[in-house]
């Protein structure tokens, strides 16, 4: 079908596909308390719990009087939801037995500040809205959320990206497991304040999507108003291509996964469009298209036990289904390592709650023996171009399973169904649920609107320090490679780089990379003591420059300093630059070092000075002199002073 691996794809590949992508970034805010109750934020229960609560979810109408598609799907799954509660991290509000308390002002202030950074138009009054989630991830069945600002924007290297909206909302539960009809959650993360930043679908290549995600991440991180650490920021990525539809890839944990995920999704959509084309050749009347099915018993065919060895449980029902015109469609490529049959299997798991493996199909080499195949085809009155699938699972789930197969196959005539998909580490995605629309919104009747006065906005504007966009411009001006930007900005190194470059006269790009590559690399490899102050990098540069030592030595000096923390820059530099000291050279340095000691230490112990100088000189003279000989030398030199 013309799949191009990402590393071989250039801009034109995406232009031809009509690739478009937008981001929804969820970022937890740094606050003491949760958003609508007074539980502490940021405390985790780590598997322990005090009590369990059970709930079922039912769809309700939106404010405009419609049912949401996702809600109806979740209703069909008939899930039992179990919440595991730990007393320290959840109260009766969290499990929806108490109405909300007033919104946390710290969280609101932080959200407004970030909305201002993104140049959003701020609302005059915050209206708390309920966004329905029937998957159970919130015990109330809805998330309380409110728009803080709309229509903002931010710059990428080559273009500007617009923001649709920024909202403040409460976080959901963490899923523990989801097996069959039982889904388990913990409630520690529930209710923590977060913001959601939504961009227009204006990123036109996978790399642009990652760049935009990185920009937003940096902007909020440098604000100091957000939480960091695992799960504190989660990206949802929307992808569409020409003729396709908006697919939301949920919960992308790492920005570096984004390019591969969006690339693969674009091609999945292309594959589904090709499948539609191929189907149209064999199925002239999609509206009249129908599956037929027959129940079979496990002992019906001799080859069956081999095919499904161990996958079928004793009480499972087996259903053979004929899909007219679907020959060669089920094995059609959709994503690397996946084919169209996986689209069916994924929905069987999520909607009918049948654990995988849950099906086999006739396009697969692993299928019934020829005589059995012929028998099956005749029993289902299959035509040459038809495909067959065998599904199995609990008898109660079979009606939903058949409906699900029928529904997904019909969607193949349309092209790309609206879906939310879950991201996997290998860059592929699986079906998570039907894509929800605006019909899942409902005003929160438990809370009054909150005015956002102009004076309040002014106080936030006055306290706000936005450095990140200027820093990014500065780094670009200095021609510092992109891969160093994130680290340098996050650690606030730009002023130090500028000062060092000015004092040494060295190129700014060179100094920046000392921090962004050398220093960062040493940190990552554990070559620096925890106490190593980044300021030292600047000091080393200045020392070299003042002593007219070529800057090519700087990396080696840093390395040695890192390995011998506590040694003075001058000593290490000289060792690196001039090699090991002779006894005479060492004697010449004693006086300088003794003065340095007097500057840094106030110790009154009689031999403290000697011991310190020994410590400084010893590593530079290794092997050539013993510690006691050195002490004698130093004592003698000092006595001359």
């Amino acid at each position: 079908m013309g799949y191009v691996p990402r590393l071989e794809a250039d801009r034109s590949v995406y232009a031809d596909l009509g690739f478009k992508s937008g981001l929804e970034i969820h970022q937890q805010l740094l606050t003491k308390k949760k958003l609508f109750c007074h539980c502490p934020a940021g405390v985790f229960q780590r598997g322990k719990y005090d009590a369990e609560i059970i709930r079922h979810m039912r769809p309700t109408l939106s404010e405009m009087g419609e049912y949401d598609g996702t809600a109806l799907m979740e209703k069909r799954t008939r899930k039992i939801i179990i919440y595991r509660i730990k007393d320290e991290t959840a109260c009766t509000y969290d499990f929806d037995d108490t109405p909300p308390f007033k919104i946390d002002r710290e969280a609101l202030g932080n959200a407004l500040e970030i909305a201002l950074m993104l140049r959003c138009s701020l609302v005059g009054e915050l209206h708390i809205t309920r966004k329905q989630y029937l998957d159970g991830s919130i015990p109330a069945g809805f998330q309380r959320t409110a728009i803080v600002g709309i229509e903002g924007g931010f710059p990428l290297k080559e273009k500007n990206i617009r923001i649709i909206q920024l909202s403040i909302e409460e976080d959901s539960c963490r899923e523990v497991s989801d097996i069959g009809h039982t889904r388990i959650y913990t409630t520690d993360r529930l209710g923590m304040p977060l913001i959601e930043m939504v961009t227009y679908p204006e990123m036109l290549t996978p790399d642009e999507v990652a760049e935009a995600a990185q920009y937003l991440r940096l902007l909020v991180r440098t604000s100091g108003k957000v939480r960091t650490g695992l799960g504190a920021a989660r990206q949802d990525v929307n992808v569409s291509i020409d003729g396709g539809t908006r697919i939301e890839i949920k919960g992308v944990a790492h920005i570096k996964w984004i390019p591969e995920l969006t690339h693969v999704e674009a091609f999945r959509q292309k594959a589904l469009l090709l499948i539609r084309e191929q189907l149209q050749q064999f199925v002239t009347d999609p509206a009249g298209w129908q599956i037929t099915s027959k129940q079979i018993t496990p002992d019906r065919f001799e080859s069956l036990p081999v095919l499904v060895s161990g996958d079928i449980k004793p009480d499972d029902q087996l259903m053979m289904i004929n899909l007219p015109g679907f020959k060669n469609i089920l094995s059609f490529f959709t994503q690397p390592g996946h084919c169209f049959a996986d689209e069916l299997s994924g929905r069987l798991k999520v909607i009918a709650c049948i654990e995988r493996p849950n099906m086999l199909h006739s396009d697969n080499p692993v299928w019934f023996a020829d005589d059995a195949t012929a028998e099956i085809r005749s029993a289902l009155q299959a035509a040459d171009n038809d495909a067959q699938v065998l599904i199995w699972g609990p008898a109660d789930d079979m009606p939903t399973a058949l409906e699900t197969i029928d529904e997904r196959c019909r969607m193949a005539f349309e092209g790309v169904p609206n879906e939310t998909r879950k991201s996997l580490a290998d860059g592929t995605t699986i079906f998570e649920r039907v894509l929800p629309g605006p019909d899942r919104m409902y005003p929160d009747t438990d809370s009054a609107p909150i005015p956002i006065e102009s004076e309040y906005i002014e106080t936030i504007e006055n306290r706000m320090i936005v450095t990140m966009p200027q820093w990014l411009d500065t780094l670009r001006e200095w021609d510092v490679p992109d891969d160093a930007h994130y680290y340098l900005i996050l650690h606030g190194f730009i002023p130090l780089i500028e000062k060092t470059a000015n004092e040494t006269g060295w190129p700014k790009k060179f100094v920046a990379l000392l921090f962004g590559h050398t220093f960062k690399g040493m940190q990552r490899r554990g070559q620096l003591a925890d106490t190593f102050d980044p300021q030292m990098v600047g000091d080393v540069c200045c020392h070299l420059s003042q002593n007219n030592i070529d800057r090519r030595w700087v990396r080696e000096v840093l390395k040695q300093l890192g390995a011998n923390s506590g040694h003075s820059i001058s000593v290490v530099t000289s060792e690196v630059v001039h090699g090991k000291l002779t006894l005479e050279e060492a004697a010449d340095r004693v006086k300088d070092l003794a003065d340095q000691f007097n500057n840094v230490s106030e110790s009154c112990l009689p031999d403290a000075q000697v011991r310190w100088v020994v410590g400084q000189l010893k590593p530079l003279m290794q092997g050539s002199v013993s510690q006691s000989e050195l002490a004698v030398l130093i004592t003698r030199e000092l006595s001359h002073v």
Partner: protein, 460 residues
């Protein structure tokens, strides 16, 4: 106020008028904070007049500050039609016929823009649309008697409800369900226990603690439990059917005279006080917890006693209560007073003369306990004996609210204080019990290791 600008007044109304924009207009608003596009929504009357509410295309609502608005342009209209999909309730000759009376409350509800709160929706078709499981249980007919929140229920409603129940029984229904707001459900349950005596079928009051416009609402499951009880149980009494635990697991059937709402917002708020509930009910079965209940009968007989004297009051005693509280009731012509006294049924000495004056004036004074659990024992201390000598009558272990309702009902039938006393102290349906079982008082204390262990094992 014109419907075209629902809920808007003052400055907000002026700005809508100025730019000829109405509620439901699809419009673009220019403001000093930026441009906003959306549908103008009605505004709650209790909110301020400084903001206009828009629904954005994303489904979110936002408020725009009136004095930041520099222009509004309307282009079209989209009005919400909030309607629960109505489907005809299926009828099957093999299923019991159940009558559902509506009084208000949140069993089924929809958004009310006037107040921003939810208002009830009700017809069998709507209920079936929202809760199709009901059709597996019974044939349902509904009758909306009132549309009031439970705090607005009172004697008029109690009497009307009793009479309507009588008619339904006469017409041969197999069970009755009453949708009711939860705040005063136990008052109504008590009133019906006295006004509807010896019914041949179950009469079940039900409500919800979370309105049915939220996915986690307890409304549907409560309604399923209540309907199942009315249709299938052999308990022919007045009951309250609400969640047992906060989990979606089972409901409890509480006797109408021994039940009380005990938490302002929990789902499992109703508890039987001083006794154990009648039964547990879930989607599959009804499990009686005791055997001493009135059994279902085939006849259509019932005693309807729709009486209520409204000049009855209840006083929650507090230290330092002054006698003028009681004096003012007497001076205002009240005929009965229920006191919720401290401990075993006590009030302070300064009230004695006022109490004496009241009883001499023919006012009936009955003592209950504000501890809720336990009996009034007025022989234990001098205070109790002093009060009885001044005419105060101890009402055993009747709950204060139940005593209040019963006194109103009894005074509605007689002026004779002796006859009144007999009515008050002769139990109709366990409002006074002869004995208190050891497990009739259970308030587990959280934090204690064995309680915590228990909580880990059950579903809360």
């Amino acid at each position: 106020m014109s419907d075209a600008i629902k809920g808007y007044r003052g400055a907000a109304r002026d700005v809508l008028d100025k730019f000829s924009v109405e509620v439901w207009s699809d419009c673009t608003v220019q403001t000093t904070r930026g441009e906003f596009k959306g549908i103008v929504l009605p505004r709650s009357e209790t909110d301020d007049d400084q903001h206009v509410v828009l629904k954005l295309i994303t489904g979110y609502n936002v408020g725009i500050t009136v004095d930041t608005i520099t222009g509004m342009i309307a282009a079209g209209r989209k009005e919400a039609h909030y309607k629960i999909p109505e489907k005809e309730f299926p009828v099957s000759p093999n299923k019991p016929n159940i009558k559902l009376f509506g009084t208000g409350g949140t069993i089924a509800s929809r958004l009310d823009y006037r107040t921003g709160a939810v208002i009830p929706a009700f017809s069998p078709g709507e209920l079936y649309g929202a809760c199709p499981e009901l059709a597996d249980i019974c044939n349902l007919t509904t009758d909306k008697l009132f549309a009031v929140f439970s705090e607005n229920m009172g004697p008029e409603q109690y009497k009307k409800l009793a009479i309507e129940i009588g008619k339904a029984i006469e017409n041969g229904v197999d069970g009755i369900v009453i949708g009711h707001g939860t705040d005063t459900m136990h008052h109504t349950a008590a009133a019906l226990s006295f006004m509807v005596q010896n019914p041949p079928v179950p009469i079940v009051l039900v409500g919800s603690q979370r309105s049915s416009d939220r996915p986690s609402s307890d409304a549907a499951l409560n309604l399923i439990h209540a309907t199942k009880t009315a249709a299938e149980s052999d308990i022919a009494e007045i009951m309250v059917c609400m969640f047992g635990p906060t989990s979606d697991e089972y409901g409890l059937l509480h006797r109408g005279t021994r039940v009380r709402k005990m938490h302002s917002s929990y789902r499992s708020t109703f508890r039987t006080i001083g006794d154990i509930p009648l039964a547990q009910v879930d989607r599959e079965k009804i499990t009686p917890l005791r055997q001493d209940y009135a059994r279902r009968r085939d006849d259509h007989n019932v005693d309807i006693l729709p009486f209520f004297e409204e000049r009855v009051a209840m006083i929650y005693y507090y230290p330092n209560m002054h006698p003028d509280i009681i004096d003012s009731l007497v001076d205002n012509g009240y005929r009965g007073i229920v006191i919720a006294g401290t401990g075993l049924g006590h009030v302070n000495k300064p009230l004695y003369p006022a109490i004496e004056r009241a009883t001499k004036a023919g006012v009936a004074i009955y003592m209950t306990v504000q501890t809720l659990w336990g009996y009034v024992h007025m022989f234990v201390y001098d205070t109790g004996r002093d009060l009885m000598s001044r005419g105060v009558i101890p009402s055993e272990n009747m709950l204060p609210e139940v005593a209040y309702i019963k006194l109103g009902w009894a005074l509605g039938q007689t002026d004779d204080l002796e006859k009144l006393r007999e009515l008050m102290l002769t139990p109709v349906q366990s409002e006074i019990t002869e004995r208190e079982p050891y497990n009739g008082y259970l308030i587990l204390q959280g934090g204690i290791p064995e309680v915590e262990e228990f909580l880990r094992k059950i579903h809360k």
